[in-house]
Structure formats: C-alpha cells, structure tokens
Symmetry: C2
Subunit: 383 residues, 2 copies
C-alpha cells in the first residue's frame, strides 16, 4: 500500500490524483492534503473524507475549519505545509503546488526519504542541480507528473540512458499558435486560457501560450534524465497525441501516445513501471487520420530561446526567469498588463539583475521574493 500526501489537492492535478487514489484503494491511500484558499472545495470534500492532516494557507481558515470538523486535525501556512511534506507515515509526496512555493517542501520531503511525484515543475527549473543531488543523496525516487516527461520515462523503460541520442519533446503551440505576432498585442485573458488540447490550471495554460512552459519542460528533462541541452529538441505537434519521444543510437524512436488524460502520468508516477487500469477515451487510428509536426518558430515564441539560453548560463538565471514569469502571469491574469508584456518583464529582469554563481536555497527564496515584489509593485499588485 502506497501512503501518499498531496500538496495542492484542490487544483487540477490534485483532484485527479485524489480520483486515481479512490479508483485504486487496494494499492493507494491518501494520508494528508493541503489546499491554498479553495476553502469551499475543502469544506465539501471533508464531508466525505478524513485525513491524518489537512493544511490550508491562512490561520483564519484553519480556525473556521476546526470548528466545522472538530475530529479532523488541521494546520496552516508554510510551516503546516512542511509538516505535511514530512508526515511520518507517508512514503510518497505528490507535489502539485504552483510556482516557486513548491521547492522547499520538495527538498524537505526528499531529506526525510519520501518518494516524490512532481507536478510542480518550478522545483526543477529553479533548483534542478540541488534537487537531483538531494535525490541521489537520500536515494529516493522522483518521478514526473507531466505528460511529456512521463512519456519520456515510459519510452526509456527497459532501455539504457547511455544509448539515448536525443529526446524530442512535443509542444501543442498553446492557445495562440494560429495567430500572428501582431494579433498577440491585444489578446484577452479569456482567449489565453482556452488551450486547444488540455484542460489545465490557469498558470500553466498561460505558460503554454508563451511557450515558457515548454522551455521549463526542456530544463526539467535536462535535470530529470541527466541529458545535455543539445540532446533535447522541441517540435510543434498540434494534436498533442504523441506526448514525447526518445531516440536511441540505433535510430529507433520510442514514443508514448494517448488521449489527453493527466491520470495516466499521475498513475505512472505513483506506480510505474507497473500500470494501473484506467477507463477513459482510447485513441482510434481509424478516426484520428493525421498527426502533424512543424518546427518551433523562435521568432514567434521569443521566451523559448531566451529561457533556454538563461538555463545554460545557470547560476541565479532561472530564479530570475521564474520569479519574473510568475509575477507577470499573475499581472496578466488580473488584467494589469497585456500578453506580450510577459516576455518583456522576463527580459527586463534578466537584463537588470546581475548574474550570480551558485546560490543557497535561502538566497533563492530571497531573490524570488524580491523580484516578485519589485515586478508587482510596479503595477501596484501585492504578492
């Protein structure tokens, strides 16, 4: 029996993880969850579920919930989150937090010997080396919850990493793939949130439209599979049917395909290489008819080359990119800036903040906070 806690249980990945656990109660059990401010969801959820520990963001919510569910243990804030991440009885932490906030709980859980199922990609984006070194030191498994990295992991199964010649990460191209740069000037938040293939959280849907998400995935793949950037390619594949591919040095390519259903990578992260039965839509090649591919146009998606270049420089660069992007996406979602200002803000931050060599986790947290505050202040938003 795998004993799981979920950080970020009320988001898209969190809810689907709860569904997977419910479908496989003979193999999986959930011991604790955290939610941020989605208290209405939590109130309904706790009518039918109880846990060793439930963590929320604010003390006020904790107090109210304790009144409503006197038998359930609650905690709150960053400390509560860390307590949940290292819960004694749990062996696996599903990290479905959004943004930089996912980093410290991941590290603490690894240090307590927990396996990690990681949906929070910022963890590896900002601190890939530190996280993977810690994974090695504490001999835990860290498995991706992400259709692309799960596809790569599945395509590596039964093969040797030494025989890999390249990884081909597919990209849908996001909500605005059929627009011109000119048209991007005035796109709305509503348009940006309309992803062509996947129903996901808001942050990742915007990151897909800017291709920041794809750059982050390349960086994640670099750390997860210990491959140089030269061996990681991106191709636009608008149907999102092939989730990614691995080419071996005999020229053979292994690909993983499927309908867009995040429960597949969730299950594989929890139980792989064993699979769990999952009902749902199946690919039908008699109807499917066509898979299309085209090169990534870097002039249409300038964030992509800018971020890959930053990642190759290393040091503080990805903390800067990530913090600038998180703040910019928040501003865009709140209609304080236009879509193309997201890339401008990332560029400005990269240019104005001096490069710095390898940093401690405390320095990363400080820098992240400082950048977000500075960007948000400029547009009168609070962190």
């Amino acid at each position: 029996m795998k004993k799981i806690v979920i950080l970020g249980a009320s988001g898209s990945i969190g809810v689907q993880t709860l569904d997977v656990i419910a479908q496989h109660s003979d193999k999986l059990v959930c011991l604790g969850i955290s939610v941020g401010q989605n208290i209405d969801w939590l109130k309904k959820h706790l009518i039918h579920h109880s846990y060793k520990l439930v963590v929320v963001k604010n003390q006020k919510d904790r107090d109210e919930l304790s009144q409503l569910f006197p038998l359930q243990e609650f905690d709150y804030g960053d400390n509560g989150l860390l307590k949940l991440a290292i819960l004694d009885e749990a062996d696996t932490v599903v990290n479905a937090l959004v943004g930089f906030a996912g980093l410290v709980p991941t590290l603490k859980a690894i240090e307590k010997g927990k396996d990690i199922a990681l949906a929070n990609k910022e963890t590896l984006v900002v601190a890939g080396k530190l996280v993977m070194d810690t994974v090695k030191q504490y001999k835990v498994n860290l498995r991706p919850i992400d259709s692309e990295h799960s596809a790569i992991l599945q395509a590596l199964q039964g093969n040797s990493l030494d025989e890999v010649s390249r990884i081909i990460v597919t990209a849908s191209g996001g909500s605005f793939r059929d627009k011109t740069r000119e048209e991007l000037k005035n796109v709305s938040v509503k348009d940006a949130l309309r992803h062509p293939n996947w129903s996901m959280g808001q942050k990742i849907t915007i990151d897909s439209a800017t291709l920041v998400n794809k750059a982050f995935e390349v960086i994640e793949a670099h750390w997860l599979f210990n491959l140089p950037y030269e061996k990681i390619e991106v191709v636009i594949h608008k149907e999102s049917i092939i989730h990614s591919m691995v080419e071996y040095f005999d020229g053979s390519i292994m690909a993983q395909l499927g309908s867009p259903d995040m429960r597949v990578p969730i299950q594989y992260a929890l139980c792989g290489p064993s699979r769990l039965p999952l009902s749902g839509q199946r690919l039908n090649f008699n109807i499917l008819s066509q898979l299309n591919f085209k090169p990534l146009d870097e002039s249409f998606y300038p964030c992509f080359p800018m971020i890959i270049k930053a990642a190759q420089k290393g040091g503080n660069q990805m903390v800067i990119v990530n913090a600038a992007n998180e703040a910019a996406v928040q501003l865009f979602l709140n209609e304080k800036i236009r879509f193309l200002q997201i890339e401008e803000i990332i560029k400005e931050c990269l240019e104005s903040i001096p490069y710095k060599e390898i940093m401690s986790i405390e320095e990363m947290v400080q820098l992240d906070h400082a950048i977000k505050q500075s960007v948000l202040n400029r547009y009168k938003e609070t962190v």
Copy 2:
C-alpha cells in the same frame, strides 16, 4: 561474443545481417551461411570471407565451389541446411529463408538449444503453436526480424504483457494502395514489385501488395506475444514511420518509429534489449510534417479477412493458405497468372481441401508439397 549462422545469407535480410555483424565484430561473429542458387554472389563473397560451413542448394554448385575454394567446407541441399541450423559452435540462428522451407530448420535449431532470430514468417504462420511450444520446452529465445514485430517487442520492453489491451500493427497498404479493384485486374509484375516505402525481397513485396503479408504478421504476433486475435488490430499508415504500437490498459500507447532500415530489427533481434549504434538516416520531425492513418478496407484487400478467418479455424488451414500463396506468387512473378488470381487460388484451395485437425510436421510438409505441386501443375510450372 554471439556466434551466428545465417540461413538465406544472400537475400535482403541475409546481406543486411552480414553488414550488422561486420559493423559489430567485437560482439558478433558469423560461423556459417547458406545460400540457395545465388552462386555468383557467393563466389564474390567467399573471396573475402570464410566460415565453418557454407551450404548451397544443389550438389553441382557445391562441387564447383569446392574446387574454387578448397579450404572452405561446403554442403548442400536440405540435409546441408539442417547441418548448418544445428552447427555445434553456434548459439544463434538467423532464419532468413523464404517460405515454408524455413520451418524444419527452425524447429531443429530450437531442439538443439539455439536462439532464433526469425525473418522467415511462414514458420510461425503455418506452425505457430508447435514452434512456440518447442521454444518453451527448450527454453530458447525466439525474436522477430520484422519491423512490425520488432516495434511491438520494443514497445513491450520494460512493460508487462498482462497489462496489454491491444496491439496496433501498421500497414503501408503495399504497391497498389492507390488503385481501384478494377485497375488491379491488369497490373504488371514490375508495378507490384515497386513498394512505396521498403526495398525488400520479391515474395514479401508481392505479399505486401495483396496484404497477405499483413495477415501473416497478425498471425505471427498472435503466436509471438500470446495474444488473442481480438486484441490485434491493423491500421493503414502510408508513411511506414510508426512501425507498430502497443496499447496498455491505462490507455497509454507505446510506439516505435524510424526510417525504413531493417538493420534496426536485425540488431534488436540479435542483441536486444541492448541496442547497437547504427549510422544512417534519422527521422526529422521538422521535415516529416505528417503521419497519416486510415482504416483497412477489407473489400479492397479480401485476402486479409479470408486468411485471418482461416487462422482462427486453425488445423491445416494455414498450411493450405501458405502453400497456395507461395505457389500463386511464384506463378505471378513468372507471369503465368494475373495479380488478382493470387487471391482466387488461395480461396479455391481453402474451399477444395477438407479441414483437418492438428497435424504432425510430416503431414504439414506433405500437404505443403501436394498443394504447391497441384497449383503449379495447373499452370505448367515445376516446384
């Protein structure tokens, strides 16, 4: 060091196997070869190569070759072939013979504990149960040299057969896929031999045009992977880039893709799951642009459903189909019959020869010979 003998060394697969062995002389060595009547090729080949044993079809050729290469040991005929198949020092037999002739040497090699790399698909088509039972009894490995079955094997690697929900075998549709049934009435041998994607031997190229080859591959897959026919689908995929796929019960599909290069399945059959480096053309998704799929039209390819139905009946049915097809293809290649008569001859044989339950290998050999003789006699051809 893997010690190999090749049955059928001068054909398309045989020559490519020799190339693979030459490229990897640190891991592979060839101890013996057979060729049929391709004596000119053999004379050139033996100037630079020597083996423990070389087998040809006719005594006359053996005698001449012994004069030319006095230090090389030769043998001939069916007995020579069996001697090669069970050569003491060899651990692996590559069976690249064409047709029913491949069956007995395969069985004898298995009984001597040799691993089999099988390009001769008729072996499993006519006697799948017998062959797989023998494989189990003598605990040898039998691995397919065929792009489709190699793809399936690669897509199963690191996974469990128990978790497979279906296999999807891709089919190019063969030389005449863009014609109408009416146009098929008068197609030439030359047209039939022009396969859109693969350069292969004559027999298999004709079998691709009739889709007999694809029916045979479904039957092979049934035996190789111990799956019921209901779990094996065929889809027309004209680019032959995806070589086949395996769907698991979580809805995830693993596919193997590549340029058409038979050295990939040859290497995988010899050394899999380890891969060997292979230079050659790589897939470039920036140029590839499109993969197409469409349903198999059984009214255009009537051989396909006819043969699958026969295979499900079992007994002597696949010996009949295979013998009728081998004779018919020979007649077509020699311009004694028209293309559409191939399917007529198979149908007539299935209808006129009574069904019989499970047969001994001797009965199979007899029936095979009798059918071929009867079909060829009708058109004044000799076996």
